[in-house]
């Protein structure tokens, strides 16, 4: 599984279906709606991967973090071993959405509606596995740290002794 950056927007749009902020593309891809990136899906259905990505955002919503990073956080579920439980979990999620009058989880347009669906299955092992996995899967991506202002490693820069360890002036 890998990111595919070489698809043209035209290629994508030929076979794609909008899924929230994402595109589900025939042939096993999920892509950003502006085609800035695409994720190849080998074992899961592409609609399942798109739903997982939306579910990840709804669990830990950060409006300043792009879908690409949520995709990176869940792409590890696209394996032969995870396929069964993940397809089953997403099917249950869609069933819960249907029970609330939505065509699918992704078809629920407002975050509050999707969060209601998630609350209804919060205690399930599937939800807890996805949520727990995101703690490291999302927040331990060095690429998202700057969004939070976190500067990470500092030893190689000599620490903060001369770089503002006590630089605030407002107190």
């Amino acid at each position: 599984m890998s990111y595919v950056k070489s698809l043209t927007r035209r290629d994508l749009l030929k076979t794609s279906v909008a899924a929230g902020s994402l595109l589900i593309i025939g042939g096993g891809f999920v892509a950003a709606s502006n085609a800035a990136w695409a994720l190849e899906v080998t074992h899961l259905k592409s609609s399942t991967m798109a739903t997982l990505i939306q579910m990840a955002r709804d669990i830990y919503p950060h409006d300043n973090i792009a879908d690409e990073f949520y995709a990176a956080a869940v792409k590890g579920y696209d394996t032969a071993e995870s396929k069964g439980p993940v397809e089953e979990g997403i099917a249950a999620l869609n069933a819960a959405a249907t029970g609330r009058g939505h065509a699918s989880y992704l078809a629920a347009g407002w975050e509050r509606d999707r969060v209601d669906i998630l609350r209804s299955m919060e205690s399930s092992p599937f939800f807890q596995q996805i949520r727990g996995g995101l703690i490291t899967g999302l927040y331990n991506q060095k690429a998202v740290w700057p969004v939070f202002g976190y500067e990470g490693e500092s030893f190689s820069k000599g620490g903060y002794i001369d770089r503002g360890f006590n630089d605030i002036k407002w107190v």
Binding site: F148, S154, F155, G159, Y160, F165, N166, V171
Partner: protein, 523 residues
């Protein structure tokens, strides 16, 4: 320098564990001319390979062997397989500690007398007191180069401290400063001053924070009297027909088992592994485990009353910059039952990076209430609460016979229920901690639940009478005179202070005693 003792050499002292207890004891004994074999379950890491990365470091240095939890404490729900956040490796948890080095207050040596009867608590006076410990505390402060003691200056306060101090002063707190820390506030011959790098919990890459691993063990090794065997996990302590211990069975890195003969055995594996080892050493002569005629081995497990308060502001704090534990409020450390609880607590600044903040701010939480807090990470300040928890006989480390470790031995289960006094104290501390930040304009405050225990104490408690505990005032077991306990599991009660300085002071004192008793031929 690199000495190797014969496994059949029954004249050596075997020290199990090389943390602030065992590491200091082993080095001190070696410096007094005693031959020592130190068995260390983990490997050897130091400034050269520590990493400024929370999860990577966690994987590098933590004790991650299988453990289980039970009881009503929140750690059992949030981190059921990880009751303690401690280190496996040379230096033990002094690699990970923040460096706070506080003496017990005088009354904390005699809480049964001072606090009186507290229902459900097994309070007991220590058989030693502040006067006994004063010279050893002074030696420990010199060894650790503790700031604000012995004429050493304090560390400068970082941004997290500036917010904390301003709030504390507005609230009327008086005893507020940048702490008494085992972190160099100036350059010394071999070690540099703190460079305000952060990542104190991940091992100090400058070596500016004291660790038994790189400050004590090498001094002991240089004498030629100390052999440290890494990746050597003690499995069982053996004894003879007279009941004296004779050696230790341990497994090497390949799982191969060896016996190291010993004249004296000192157990310093932290308060979970130390009682586990004594319990796993049961024999036909000692069916309940070694040194357990009182039935107290594993009981009175303490972990300090803890919690954290984080707060967000409308301006940047960047709390991760600089010393992790950068300052302290000591006004609430006193014993003042008018607050609704006995004992007291310290408030100490703390910061976590974004990876650990996500894991620990409110474990299990999700949705915008949680993520909007993390979105303000740059504007966040934080403090840790550490207070005296009540010893309870039912809070205990016991053997989990249903789950075996890689050597086929029962794993430890850690059972803990908060005492009502612990809960009352935590609620008071949450309120005061939030008030500190509210005083300087906090937008939101977060009462954060306890992390896996870093202060594990009391499972081989020290007592004047043999029936009340496991070890006497020297850390020598009541039952077996050549068996000692040398770590925080000796603690009779926990006090409000971070325990490392007291563990080091007890180890220095115990080394003197053991060397003296050996030279007299008493053991």
């Amino acid at each position: 320098m690199s000495v190797s003792f014969d496994k059949k050499d029954g004249n050596v002292v075997v020290v199990i564990g090389t943390g602030p207890g065992g590491g200091v004891l082993a080095s001190e004994l070696a410096q007094k001319g005693v031959k020592v074999v130190a068995l260390e379950a983990g490997g050897r890491h130091g400034p050269e390979d520590f990493v400024n990365d929370e999860w990577a470091s966690f994987g590098q240095i933590s004790w991650l062997d299988s453990r289980s939890t039970s009881g009503s404490w929140r750690v059992a729900k949030d981190f059921s397989g990880l009751p303690a956040w401690i280190v496996k490796g040379v230096g033990g948890s002094s690699q990970h500690w923040a460096g706070a080095s506080l003496r017990f207050q005088e009354h904390e040596w005699k809480t049964q007398t001072v606090y009186g009867n507290v229902t459900g608590a097994s309070l007991l006076d220590w058989p030693i007191d502040a006067k006994t410990m004063d010279p050893y505390y002074t030696k420990a402060e010199e060894k650790l180069r503790v700031t604000r003691t012995g004429g050493r200056k304090g560390l400068p306060g970082n941004n997290n401290y500036k917010v904390f101090e301003a709030g504390a002063k507005k609230l009327g707190y008086k005893d507020v400063h940048t702490g008494r820390m085992a972190i160099n506030s100036k350059d010394y011959d071999d070690f540099v001053a703190c460079q305000q790098t952060g990542f104190c919990f991940q091992g100090c890459k400058w070596g500016a924070k004291w660790s038994a691993g790189y400050n004590e063990i090498p001094v002991g090794e240089a004498t030629g009297n100390l052999e440290v065997r890494i990746n050597s996990q003690a499995l069982k302590i053996e004894h003879d027909a007279s009941g004296k211990v004779t050696g230790v069975i341990y497994a090497d890195a390949d799982g191969k088992q060896h016996v190291q003969k010993a004249r004296i055995v000192c157990v310093a594996g932290n308060s979970i592994e130390s009682p586990r080892l004594l319990l796993n050493s049961a024999s036909s002569m000692f069916p309940d485990g070694l040194a357990n005629s009182s039935g107290q081995v594993g009981r009175n497990y303490m972990r300090h009353m803890t919690g954290s308060v984080y707060a967000t502001f409308d301006k940047p704090v960047k709390m991760w910059r600089g010393t992790t534990m950068a300052g302290i409020i000591q006004d609430e450390a006193r014993h003042d039952p008018s607050r609704g609880f006995v004992g007291g607590y310290e408030l100490e600044t703390l910061s976590l990076g974004i990876p650990f903040m996500a894991a620990f701010l409110d474990p299990g939480a999700w949705g915008r209430e949680f993520t909007s807090a993390l979105d303000q990470y740059e504007n966040m300040a934080g403090m840790w609460i550490v207070g005296e928890d009540m010893p309870q006989e039912t809070n205990r480390v016991s053997l989990n016979h249903d789950v075996k470790d890689q050597f086929g031995l029962p794993t430890p289960n850690v059972h803990f229920d908060d005492h009502p006094n612990d809960i009352a104290m935590r609620n008071h501390a949450y309120k005061q901690g939030a008030a500190v930040y509210d005083a300087v304009g906090a937008v939101r405050t977060f009462p954060t639940p306890p992390y896996p225990s870093t202060h594990n104490l009391g499972t081989n408690r020290m007592s004047a009478k043999a029936r009340d505990g496991v070890v006497n005032k020297w850390g020598q077991t009541h039952d077996i005179k050549n068996l000692f306990v040398s770590d925080g599991s000796q603690f009779t009660t926990g006090a409000a202070e971070n325990p490392t300085l007291t563990i080091v002071a007890l180890a220095i004192r115990q080394a003197e005693r053991i060397a003296s008793e050996m030279s007299k031929g008493n053991i």
